[in-house]
Symmetry: C2
């Protein structure tokens, strides 16, 4: 199966097994195709929404998605986050965390301070001005997401949330295995 999120690729060809052995092999293959199809469909929805949010953030607030993401992660930790921890929590790849932090520091939206437990390590947190700036953007961001997903019913959204929660738990369990 090619790596494309495309409905037309699932031919029924795999069903034409003759004999027990082949049936098992083709069932396995179908299961793999199903997983790949699910992954590619989820990836393509995610990329579509992410790109839309990326361009809206730029147009409305003149900021990049990694910068928004970095502020979003800090917002959850008023006491600050170590740089390494921050880096692990980012949801968007491709941003230069040190560079973004430096920029935000210059704009007085974050402060960098030596960690009280280990003076060699720096920890970053939002300033009150940073919290305020982020709150404004987060409210608009929430409206955008609601707008982008408005074609789905509340029931469909709840079903999706439940299924994605199941997926997340299993991914988590796989992590620890």
């Amino acid at each position: 199966m090619a790596l494309a999120d495309n409905d037309k690729q699932d031919g029924g060809g795999d069903d034409a097994g003759d004999g027990e052995q082949l049936d098992l092999a083709s069932r396995l293959t179908q299961g793999h195709h199903q997983s790949l199809k699910l992954w590619l469909r989820m990836l393509s929805c995610t990329v579509k929404i992410e790109n839309e949010i990326r361009s809206r953030l730029r147009a409305s607030f003149g900021i990049t998605l990694p910068r928004f993401d970095l502020m979003a992660q800090l917002e959850r930790f008023p006491q600050g986050l170590r740089m390494g921890e921050l880096s692990k929590r980012m949801m968007v790849t491709g941003g230069n965390i040190t560079g973004i932090t430096h920029q935000l520091e210059q704009e007085k939206l974050v402060v960098r301070e030596p960690d009280p437990d280990d003076r060699r390590v720096y920890s970053v947190r939002l300033t009150p001005a940073g919290r305020e700036a982020f709150a404004t953007m987060a409210a608009v961001h929430e409206e955008w997401i609601a707008e982008l997903l408005q074609g789905m019913s509340g029931a469909e959204k709840n079903q999706l949330i439940a299924l994605l929660s199941t997926m997340k738990q299993h991914l988590h369990a796989a992590d620890r295995a």
Copy 2:
């Protein structure tokens, strides 16, 4: 609502409306929270899988995710893709497409040729060696995805595929509006 995919954040506080007006407002707010929750859960599953695939690709084949993605896009277009078209089709952000293409060209996995319709534009395609190299990786990639999603039943996967298809159609419709 903070920008975190966290079950504990959905307090029931919004339900405490008194009067019609407030009820409408709080229903709206709840709808927005539901959409944001869905988006954050989907994003966190996607990031988790993507990071796992990224590190496995590096460990098993010594390649980056953007490079794998670029080859995956080319694999679907044996006749080649223009650079601009290729760039639009990428599912992974943060890769330097010109750089990756140049690298793959040096390794004789892709060729770059002037477009027959417009000699000023370059088009890229996989060489037979590139197709072969990609096929090997794609087969292993499919196994990984199946393994990562093995905790979910076939029925759950089908439900997810159906719901994500609905989402994709609505996102598509919003594009054209």
